[in-house]
């Protein structure tokens, strides 16, 4: 680990208990986020990215979900053991979150001002004037015009991009240490996407807020992240800094992901896609979870689960192909 980490996730396992038994949506994952860093968490739908973020926030819907093992260390404090009261202090203040759907993430029946000032009041004992000034200031900071009027407007009067800016304002209003962004640009059109990413980069730069950027879009990762964690079916399959991963991806899944990004300079008949589908969570009991879709898979891949092997400076891969190179990292 380099630098001082703000969040460290160790052997985290979050399961959903259904009629068919325990299904581990997140299975024994490790990663860390350094202070002021932007970490990308990449993977297809259903790979456990969102469950990971909800686990950190302590918001896994329970029942049926539950963190069954591991640690989530926020500045050394294990959040899996924190009381609900302590978690309420952390949420919205130290660790905040924005979501994929700006259209439905704001309460339609309360004004923008009410929803932002509510967050401020939850974590600060300020007077009315201070709260209002801070709300206006934060709206201006995220680049919203007419900040003062906006306070009295309702979400339905705003466009998707503006609402996402409001969400970011709400998440940033208490100067958090870590902002978890769960697919923050997926629901927005491309020009707005670029603006939102630019804003997040700026906030990260200006306020040294670490950002955990959850996405399935490698373009987003390349644009803003310094390091990236690739997840597949509830496991971390590759981890490394952005340049290494793009230049020399190791895990066949990562290779496939990067290959499936269309290249505008080449003319092809058919865009590449990884054959097969993401397995249903909990359906693969043993072996590498990617084995069934992997072109390099051999017998051992179906019976044994590979460890994360260190393959270079800061790069780790969960694949037997690289076992010889590095040895087990844990």
């Amino acid at each position: 680990m380099s630098g001082e980490s703000v969040l460290e996730v160790k052997n985290l396992r979050t399961s959903f208990f259904t009629d068919d038994g325990e299904v581990a949506a997140v299975d024994d994952i490790d990663f860390y986020i350094n202070k002021g860093e932007i970490l990308g968490v990449v993977g297809e739908s259903g790979c456990g990215k969102s469950v990971t973020s909800l686990s950190i926030m302590g918001l896994v819907p329970s029942p049926p979900g539950k963190i069954v093992g591991g640690e989530i260390l926020y500045k050394g404090e294990d959040l899996t053991k924190a009381s609900e009261k302590r978690m309420r202090q952390i949420r919205g203040n130290d660790i905040t979150m924005i979501f994929q759907e700006p259209m439905t993430s704001l309460n339609p029946l309360f004004t923008i001002g009410n929803q932002i000032m509510e967050t401020i009041r939850l974590h600060n004992k300020w007077n009315k004037q201070q709260v209002k000034e801070r709300a206006i200031e934060i709206l201006q900071m995220v680049g919203l015009p007419r900040a003062e009027e906006l306070l009295n407007e309702y979400p339905h009067q705003l466009s998707g991009g503006m609402r996402q800016r409001v969400m970011i304002a709400m998440a940033m209003v208490c100067n958090p240490q870590l902002l978890i962004a769960d697919e923050p640009t997926t629901a927005l059109d491309v020009t707005i996407q670029a603006q939102i990413l630019k804003l997040m980069k700026k906030l990260n730069h200006d306020y040294q807020t670490a950002i955990m950027m959850i996405t399935h879009d490698l373009g987003v990762v390349a644009e803003v992240c310094q390091r990236v964690v690739v997840m597949y079916a509830g496991k971390v399959v590759e981890e490394g800094d952005i340049a290494t991963i793009y230049k020399s991806p190791k895990h066949p899944y990562t290779v496939g992901l990067i290959k499936s990004v269309p290249d505008m300079r080449k003319k092809v008949d058919r865009l590449y896609s990884i054959p097969g589908n993401v397995p249903k969570p909990g359906s693969i009991k043993e072996g590498c979870r990617f084995a069934a879709r992997c072109e390099h898979a051999f017998d051992r891949c179906f019976t044994e689960t590979p460890e994360l092997y260190q393959t270079g400076e800061g790069q780790k891969v969960r694949c037997f192909l690289y076992e010889q190179q590095g040895g087990v990292s844990k």
Binding site: G92, F110, E118
Partner: protein, 334 residues
């Protein structure tokens, strides 16, 4: 908003006219002659014919209907055939009794029903949820007359805690001002009688509240469950808000619209549908007033009574529609 309200109020006119028309014919289809009922079985044919003529019942139906509607338009609800008193004066004490009973019943139904629904949704699949929803199912299924009789048997006859009939301690009545006894006793400064009035209200209002309470609890629960799954509730929790405020501020306001709709309909039903409860508990309400009028074929009383209930019903639902706008900024009428 104002134009919408005015338009809705104007729409009252054809609705009430149509309803008056239908009621006018239905009650005349009931076999039996008002004059005969008033004069009794022994009356001579001549006397009956004379009274029929005097009451104007020999006129063709359209003349009778015209006279009645003409009276209504000038604010005259007609006169009772039985007592010859103007219905306008006669009906208020009955209406007040029903209003008092229904409002108290509705207050109980809303307070308990809404909270039970909220807590059931909040702790879905908990023992509270199961017990509350089983009780709600029972509450919807129980016939009101049976529940009323059981209440009287248990709390009046066996335990002797509460009076079984009436509105007040009749041996020591309070001067009537508004006919709403809760208010009248306070005006008279008679707190002992105020307590008596409350004691008289408990059993009938509980019987009357049961069904609306159960319906409100169930609709609140399902509406809350849907809202609590939505993204903005997750946002509210991610802010670090207490679950109590997440539920009672962010969720409830979003879940309340279907609940309001049901409340509006139930209040309307209580006003007219309290006849059984009023009969069992000897409550001199408008349900009983109309019921007795039917026995006497007192056409004007039946017509005007139903007209008043219908008007209140429609007005309450108009208020509910206007409340939607106050709650949800996205709803606009125009």
């Amino acid at each position: 908003m104002l134009t919408y309200t005015i338009r809705r109020l104007l729409m009252l006119i054809p609705v009430l006219f149509g309803m008056t028309f239908v009621v006018f014919f239905i009650i005349r289809a009931i076999p039996g002659d008002p004059a005969q009922v008033i004069l009794g079985q022994q009356a001579t044919k001549e006397a009956v014919a004379q009274l029929t003529e005097k009451l104007g019942l020999n006129d063709p139906w359209y003349v009778q209907f015209f006279h009645y509607v003409k009276g209504l338009l000038s604010g005259d609800l007609g006169e009772s055939l039985r007592s010859s008193a103007p219905i306008k004066d006669e009906i208020w004490p009955y209406l007040a009794a029903t209003l008092e009973l229904s409002l108290v019943a509705m207050f109980i139904a809303i307070f308990i029903g809404v909270n039970a629904g909220i807590i059931s949704a909040w702790f879905q699949n908990s023992w509270f949820d199961y017990v509350a929803m089983i009780l709600a199912l029972i509450g919807i299924s129980i016939p009101v007359f049976w529940l009323g009789l059981m209440e009287q048997w248990a709390f009046s006859l066996e335990l002797g805690w509460l009076p079984s009939t009436g509105r007040e301690n009749v041996r020591d009545p309070v001067e009537v001002v508004t006919n709403l006894y809760l208010i009248d006793t306070l005006i008279a400064g008679r707190f002992d009688q105020f307590g008596e009035v409350i004691r008289h209200l408990i059993l009938p209002s509980l019987a009357l509240a049961t069904i609306p309470m159960a319906i409100i609890a169930r609709i609140t629960r399902s509406s809350m469950l849907e809202v609590m799954r939505s993204d903005y509730i997750r946002t509210a929790r991610a802010k670090g808000m207490r679950m109590f405020f997440v539920v009672y501020k962010h969720s409830l306001k979003n879940a309340v619209i279907p609940v309001l709709t049901v409340i509006g309909l139930q209040v309307g039903l209580l006003l007219g549908g309290a006849i059984l409860t009023e009969t069992i508990f000897g409550w001199p309400g408008i349900g009983r007033y109309i019921y007795e009028a039917i026995g006497f074929r007192d056409y004007p009383v039946i017509q005007s009574g139903i007209l008043i209930i219908a008007t209140i019903f429609i007005l309450i639902n108009l208020i509910v529609d206007l409340l939607y706008v106050a709650i949800d900024p996205r709803i606009k009428y125009n």
